[in-house]
C-alpha cells in the first residue's frame, strides 16, 4: 500500500522537491553575500562609533524581490499543498470511481486511508518546514536588523511553524475532498478554511499562548506610543502599543503612579492650545517607525511638531507613563512550538474525522 501510494504521489512529490531544490539553490547563492553586506556594515558602524540600533545597514534593502518572494512562498506554499495535494487525494478517487477498485483489493479502507494520509501528510509537513527553515536561515542578517520576529507577517514565515500550517492545510484539503466528494469545490473550501483558520489563530489565539509580561515605559524618552485627539468634547489621550525590538507589544495604557489615567481637568490644563480636530499618533519622541514588507524604516514626522501638540506631549509625559503588555522576544521558539502543536492537533482531529467518515458514511 505504501509503495502504491507513493506511485500515485510520485509526480507531485517530484514537483515539490524540484521547487524546494531550486529555491535552495537561489538562497545558497545569495545568502553568503547578504551576510557579507551585513557584517561589513556592522563593522563600519562599530569603527565609527555608531550604536547598533542606529546603524544604517544596507542588508535590509538588498535583494528586495527575493525577500518578498521568499516570504510570500512560505505564506502560500502550505495553502498550495492543501489545495493541490490534499483536496484531490480522496476526492479524485471518489470522482473517478477508482475507490471501488482500491477498496476491493485486499486492503482495508482504514489502512488505505491511513497510508495515504500519513505519506502525503508527512511530505506536506516536510515541504512547509524545510521551506520555512531555509528562508529563516537566509533572512537571519535582515532579521537581526529588523528585530521584528513576533510581527504577525514574520512569525508565520520564520522558524518551523509553517510545517504545522502545511500539515493542517493538507488535512483540511483531504477532509474537504472526502466530505464533498468533488475536487474543485474541495479546493475552494481549503482556500477559504485555511486562510480563516490562520487569521483566527494569529489574532485570536496566539496572543494567549502565555500570559503577557508587563513593563512601564516612560513617555519622556519618547519610547511609549501615544494617541492624542482633540474634539469639541475636550482632549483625549490614549496609549498605543509601542514597537519593541523582537517583542510583541499587545496593549499600551497611559497611567500615573497610582494607576489612573489623565483626567479631563488635567488634560484641559496640560493641553490648552489644542484646537478642535488637532491630533497626533505615534511615539512621544515624534519619530514614527513603521514596518513595511518585513523591513523597519524610520519615517521622520515633521521634526518640529506644532507647538500646542509638543506642549501637550510634554505635559502628559511629566506626570504619566505608559504600561505596556507584551510577549518578550525570548518566547519566540516557545510560541512557534505551541502554534505548531496546535495545528498538528487540528490535523490529527481532521484525520480522525476522515477515518470515521470512510468507515461509517461512505457505504
Amino acid at each position: 500500500m505504501i509503495a502504491f501510494s507513493w506511485r500515485q504521489f510520485r509526480t507531485q512529490a517530484v514537483i515539490g522537491l524540484a521547487g524546494l531544490v531550486a529555491l535552495a539553490a537561489v538562497l545558497l547563492a545569495t545568502g553568503p553575500n547578504l551576510v557579507h553586506i551585513y557584517d561589513t556594515a556592522v563593522a563600519q558602524c562599530r569603527s565609527t562609533g555608531v550604536r547598533a540600533g542606529n546603524c544604517n545597514n544596507p542588508a535590509s534593502g538588498t535583494y528586495p524581490f527575493l525577500q518578498t518572494l521568499a516570504l510570500d512562498l512560505v505564506l502560500v506554499v502550505p495553502l498550495l499543498v492543501g489545495m493541490f495535494w490534499g483536496a484531490p487525494l480522496i476526492a479524485r478517487e471518489l470522482e473517478t470511481g477508482t475507490f471501488r477498485l482500491a477498496w476491493t483489493q485486499s486492503v482495508t479502507r482504514r489502512r488505505w486511508l491511513a497510508v495515504k494520509l500519513g505519506l502525503v501528510g508527512l511530505a506536506s509537513a516536510a515541504v512547509g518546514g524545510l521551506l520555512s527553515l531555509m528562508v529563516t536561515w537566509w533572512f537571519s542578517p535582515i532579521d537581526s536588523i529588523n528585530q521584528n520576529r513576533f510581527d504577525p507577517a514574520a512569525f508565520g514565515t520564520h522558524g518551523f511553524v509553517a510545517a504545522g500550517y502545511a500539515l493542517f492545510a493538507f488535512a483540511l484539503g483531504a477532509t474537504a475532498g472526502l466530505l464533498i466528494r468533488r475536487t474543485i469545490p474541495a479546493m475552494v473550501v481549503t482556500l477559504v478554511g485555511f486562510i480563516a483558520t490562520r487569521v483566527l489563530v494569529t489574532f485570536g489565539i496566539r496572543p494567549h499562548f502565555m500570559a503577557p509580561d508587563t513593563m512601564t515605559v516612560s513617555l519622556q524618552g519618547g519610547q511609549g506610543g501615544l494617541n492624542i485627539t482633540s474634539t469639541s468634547a475636550g482632549v483625549q489621550v490614549a496609549g498605543s502599543p509601542p514597537t519593541l525590538p523582537n517583542a510583541w507589544a499587545l496593549t499600551g495604557t497611559i497611567e500615573n503612579n497610582a494607576g489612573q489615567g489623565p483626567s479631563a481637568a488635567f488634560l484641559r490644563h496640560a493641553c490648552p492650545g489644542l484646537t478642535n480636530g488637532a491630533g497626533f499618533s505615534g511615539p512621544a519622541s515624534g519619530v514614527e517607525q513603521s514596518v513595511r514588507g518585513g523591513t523597519r524604516e524610520a519615517v521622520p514626522v515633521p521634526s518640529r511638531l506644532p507647538d500646542p501638540i509638543q506642549q501637550c506631549i510634554t505635559g502628559v509625559a511629566s506626570k504619566y507613563h505608559e504600561v505596556v503588555t507584551y510577549q518578550p522576544g525570548s518566547r519566540f521558539w516557545a510560541f512557534q512550538t505551541y502554534e505548531t502543536l496546535l495545528f498538528v492537533a487540528l490535523s490529527i482531529g481532521l484525520a480522525g474525522l476522515c477515518v470515521w467518515w470512510v468507515r461509517h458514511r461512505l457505504s
Partner: protein, 297 residues
C-alpha cells in the same frame, strides 16, 4: 450447504428511496450467475453490498459464509470489477499490475502478465488512453490475478462494442472453465448472459423476481397458447407470469410445477430472453398493483 451469497431481507435505502428492498436470495456454489434487470433495478446496489462497498440498510448478506469486506482475508477471496471498469487514468498498465501485486497477499503475477501479453495490451501505456475494451480487460486481469473464490462483475460489457463484448465474455468463460471459480455478473441485456450463465437472478424495480438454475427455469416455464380463457381458471401449480389475449386466443407465460395436462393448450418452450422479459413485465405489473394498494390503504 454453503452459499456463495446468502441474503436475508436485504435492503439498501438512499434517503427515502429503496434501491434494493427485502431481498431473500441464496446462491449455491459452482455457478456462473447472471444478474439481470432493467437499468436502475438495483443490480449494482446488490453487487456493491456483496463486495462490502455498501453497507445494508436492512437485513444481512453473507458472501462465502462471511460478512463482505470483513477483513483482509475476506477481501482477498472476492474479485470485483466495478461498473465502467474504473482504472487509474494516469497510471500505466504495468503500474496496475504492480498495484495488484502490492495490495493483494495472493497474486498470480505470471498469470497476469501472460494475460496482458495475450491480450496485446501495451504495458507502458497509461490506462486513461486505453480503449474501453482494453480497460475492461485490464480491470478483469487485476480481479482474476487475485485468484478469487468468487468473481463479481458489475455490467462488465455495458460500455463495450459488440466485438469487444464477445471477446471479453469468451476470455471470461475460458477462465471459468479452467479454474472453476464462482462468478456473478450483471447485465441489463439477457443476450450477454445467455451464452455464459447457468444460474439466473432477475431483479426488477429494486425487488427480486426470480432466481434459479437456467435449465430448471426453462424447464418449468412454458408458453401456453389456446382458446381464450380466464387465467384464474388454471389449476393449482400453474402461475401466470404474463398474459396476452385476443378475442379468441390466450397466450400465457406460466410457471408450471408439473407437466401441462390440459389438451386445450399448445405448450411451447421459452427462450431465456422471453422468460426474463415476462418477469420484467410481471414485476412492473406487481409494482402497479402495490401502488394501487398503497393508494387504497
Amino acid at each position: 450447504m454453503s452459499w456463495v451469497i446468502d441474503a436475508q431481507g436485504l435492503g439498501k435505502r438512499y434517503g427515502k428511496r429503496w434501491a434494493l428492498n427485502d431481498c431473500d436470495l441464496q446462491i449455491p456454489s459452482g455457478h456462473v450467475v447472471g444478474l439481470v434487470g432493467p437499468n436502475g433495478a438495483g443490480k449494482s446496489t446488490f453487487l456493491q453490498l456483496a463486495v462490502g462497498l455498501l453497507a445494508p440498510s436492512a437485513g444481512t448478506i453473507a458472501v462465502l459464509g462471511r460478512g463482505p469486506a470483513a477483513d483482509v482475508e475476506q477481501l482477498a477471496r472476492v474479485g470485483y470489477v466495478a461498473q465502467d471498469t474504473p482504472t487509474y487514468a494516469r497510471l500505466s498498465v504495468e503500474d496496475h499490475l504492480r498495484f495488484g501485486s502490492q495490495l493483494n497477499p495472493i497474486w498470480d503475477d505470471a498469470f497476469a502478465r501472460r494475460r496482458i501479453k495475450d491480450l496485446d495490451l501495451p504495458v507502458r501505456q497509461k490506462a486513461g488512453s486505453l480503449s474501453g475494451g482494453q480497460r475492461a480487460q485490464l480491470a478483469l486481469t487485476v480481479a482474476l490475478a487475485k485468484r478469487p473464490e468468487l468473481l463479481i462483475l458489475d455490467e462488465p460489457v455495458a460500455s463495450l462494442d459488440p466485438l469487444a463484448r464477445r471477446e471479453f465474455l469468451q476470455v471470461l468463460m475460458e477462465y471459468v472453465a479452467d479454474e472453476g471459480v464462482n462468478v456473478v455478473l450483471s447485465s441489463h441485456l439477457v443476450a450477454d448472459l445467455e451464452r455464459v450463465c447457468d444460474y439466473l437472478v432477475v431483479l426488477v424495480d429494486s425487488r427480486l423476481q426470480l432466481a434459479g438454475e437456467v435449465d430448471d427455469l426453462l424447464g418449468s416455464h412454458h408458453r401456453l397458447v389456446g382458446p381464450r380463457r380466464d387465467p384464474d381458471s388454471l389449476p393449482p401449480g400453474q402461475e401466470v407470469i404474463e398474459e396476452r389475449h385476443t378475442e379468441r386466443q390466450s397466450t400465457l407465460v406460466a410457471r408450471c410445477d408439473g407437466p401441462v395436462l390440459d389438451p386445450a393448450w399448445t405448450v411451447e418452450d421459452l427462450s431465456l430472453e422471453d422468460l426474463v422479459l415476462a418477469y420484467m413485465g410481471h414485476g412492473a405489473e406487481a409494482r402497479r398493483a402495490r401502488q394501487n394498494l398503497e393508494v387504497v390503504s
